[in-house]
């Protein structure tokens, strides 16, 4: 005779829901996700919780709880500033990956890049993404500047943030240019030769500028090491500081400009 089952066995969906609830209710989970996080147990969509999502997360360093309605319009910002920052993060991530396989020595650099492309999993893909991402960042920073100018967004009280923006544009160009040398092929070496020759014509102390940049009178191993350190450490460090001031000023000057 069949036994009568009062409680049918829980379905897979119920088990899953139970598991999710247990995980979200755990101490570890609620210690990671602060109150207001959308991943926290019992999150509901309410104005209060929408505020907490920003206020109680690291995003509060970048965004206020509320922004002007027109600031959300893609047709106004074209996302260019945000994309520049995102590309910087993208370049940092792919760049760290590349650093694992690269030695900044004249005898090793080219071989490292070459073997990265042929014998490292996703090596070629990541190098391509780094390269095209870098060009795209130069382009997006440049377009961001043009967008800001045409919107008159550099006017009071945002004058100083514009100045920082010009510094950031220069740093972006320098970052791209220092990275250009690192593959140590004919393209990069002679592009840098053209560039540094031009800087050598700086009045009064031109040859000294050139000597400091090259680490000698000619492009060589010292140049490679020097530009490597500039590319992976010093210029990113400097640009992060200027970016922090840039973003902070955007908020302090009353959010993004406009509407027109």
């Amino acid at each position: 005779m069949a036994k009568v089952i009062d409680d049918p066995r829980p379905t897979a969906k119920e088990r899953l829901n139970q598991t999710v609830e247990n995980v979200q209710g755990s101490q570890a989970w609620s210690s990671i996700f602060r109150p207001g996080s959308i991943f926290r147990k019992g999150y509901t969509d309410s104005p209060r919780n929408r505020s907490y999502v920003i206020m109680n997360s690291v995003l509060y360093h970048l965004h206020p709880v509320k922004v002007k309605r027109h600031a959300v319009k893609v047709s106004y910002t074209l996302c260019l500033g945000g994309l520049s920052f995102f590309l910087f993060i993208h370049l940092t991530v792919t760049g760290i990956f590349l650093m694992f396989f690269y030695r900044p020595e004249a005898t090793a650099a080219w071989n490292d890049i070459s073997s990265l492309q042929t014998s490292v999993a996703f090596g070629l893909l990541v190098r391509n993404m780094h390269r095209w991402g870098a060009h795209l960042m130069v382009l997006s920073v440049f377009l961001h500047m043009a967008r800001v100018f045409y919107h008159g967004a550099y006017k009071a009280p945002r004058e100083f943030n514009w100045v920082i923006g010009v510094v950031l544009l220069t740093l972006t160009l320098l970052l791209s240019f220092t990275g250009y040398l690192l593959p140590w092929d004919q393209l990069s070496m002679w592009a840098v030769a053209v560039g540094t020759n031009m800087m050598g014509y700086t009045p009064v102390f031109g040859s000294q500028v050139r000597f400091v940049l090259l680490g000698g009178v000619e492009i060589g191993s010292e140049t490679l090491l020097r530009w490597y350190v500039l590319h992976v450490l010093m210029l990113p460090f400097v640009i992060v500081i200027f970016m922090a001031i840039h973003f902070w000023r955007v908020r302090k000057d009353g959010g993004i400009s406009g509407p027109l």
Binding site: V72, Y180, D185, Q186, S188
Partner: protein
């Protein structure tokens, strides 16, 4: 609840006594007040008197009443220091307008929550950007030429694309002018833009001059970069890309 200090209680009591005493003193004084107070212009007194006569003297015109009280004040010798007309012990010190202490927004700004309105847009933009880079990276390889050789100059040797405008200028000017002076002045002008442009409007129709100058500036560099990138061949001589081929690496 806070306790009221003893000296304040005493002062209040004294003021209350004074007021009571003055109320008694002022009532008879009001009867024989001189109608001509020197501080009130004569024509106003005339007017108030006329109004009083019209209503049959039933109401006391305001101007005269004030005159009566002011006139009565010196008579009451025991008024507390700081007591106003009628023995009031409170005074209006100042009117604080709203906005002088609290930040009251004159025009409320139309705002939306950053989450989800802005973050969703940013997230989509970031995903789209990554996807774009990913697909470009799959189909287009970054160039890797032969090992660097200081003894063999490639022809042409070109700077990265964003410096090709400067390299193009090198064909026209002395290297110091092309490589240092012109880009230096351009960069400096860019930095000074907000301090040169005194026009406070951000409306495009009010900024035709600034817009034109910037467009000329940007076009100047764009044209130079395009010529340097696509129209310069061996020896950095002028070529047509559709006839002589492309001499350009990213």
């Amino acid at each position: 609840m806070t306790e009221i200090p003893e000296h304040l209680l005493k002062r209040a009591q004294a003021a209350r006594d004074q007021a009571a005493a003055q109320a008694g003193a002022a009532a008879p004084a009001a009867g024989d007040t001189p109608a001509s107070d020197p501080r009130i212009p004569a024509h106003l007194l005339e007017r108030s008197k006329a109004a009083k006569d019209k209503t049959g003297g039933a109401q006391v015109a305001v101007a005269e009443k004030v005159g009566a009280l002011v006139g009565a004040a010196p008579a009451a010798a025991g008024l507390p220091i700081g007591a106003g007309p009628g023995g009031h012990t409170q005074r209006l010190l100042t009117v604080v307008k709203s906005g002088s202490i609290q930040d009251v927004k004159a025009t409320p700004v139309d705002k939306v929550h950053t989450w989800p309105h802005l973050l969703a847009v940013e997230f989509v933009a970031a995903i789209a950007c990554t996807a774009f880079l990913f697909f470009v990276a799959i189909f287009v390889n970054a160039p890797l030429m032969q090992l660097a050789n200081p003894n063999q100059t490639p022809n042409p040797s070109k700077a990265p694309w964003y410096f090709l405008g400067l390299q193009e200028l090198l064909t026209m000017f002395h290297p110091m002018v092309a490589g240092v002076t012109i880009p230096g002045v351009a960069l400096f002008a860019l930095i000074l833009a907000p301090f040169i442009d005194k026009n406070s409007s951000n409306k495009p129709e009010d900024r035709k001059f600034a817009t034109s100058i910037m467009t000329i500036h940007l076009m100047f560099w764009a044209v130079l970069v395009i010529i340097g990138s696509f129209f310069r061949g061996p020896g950095f001589n002028f070529v047509f890309p559709w006839r002589d081929g492309l001499f350009f690496e990213l």
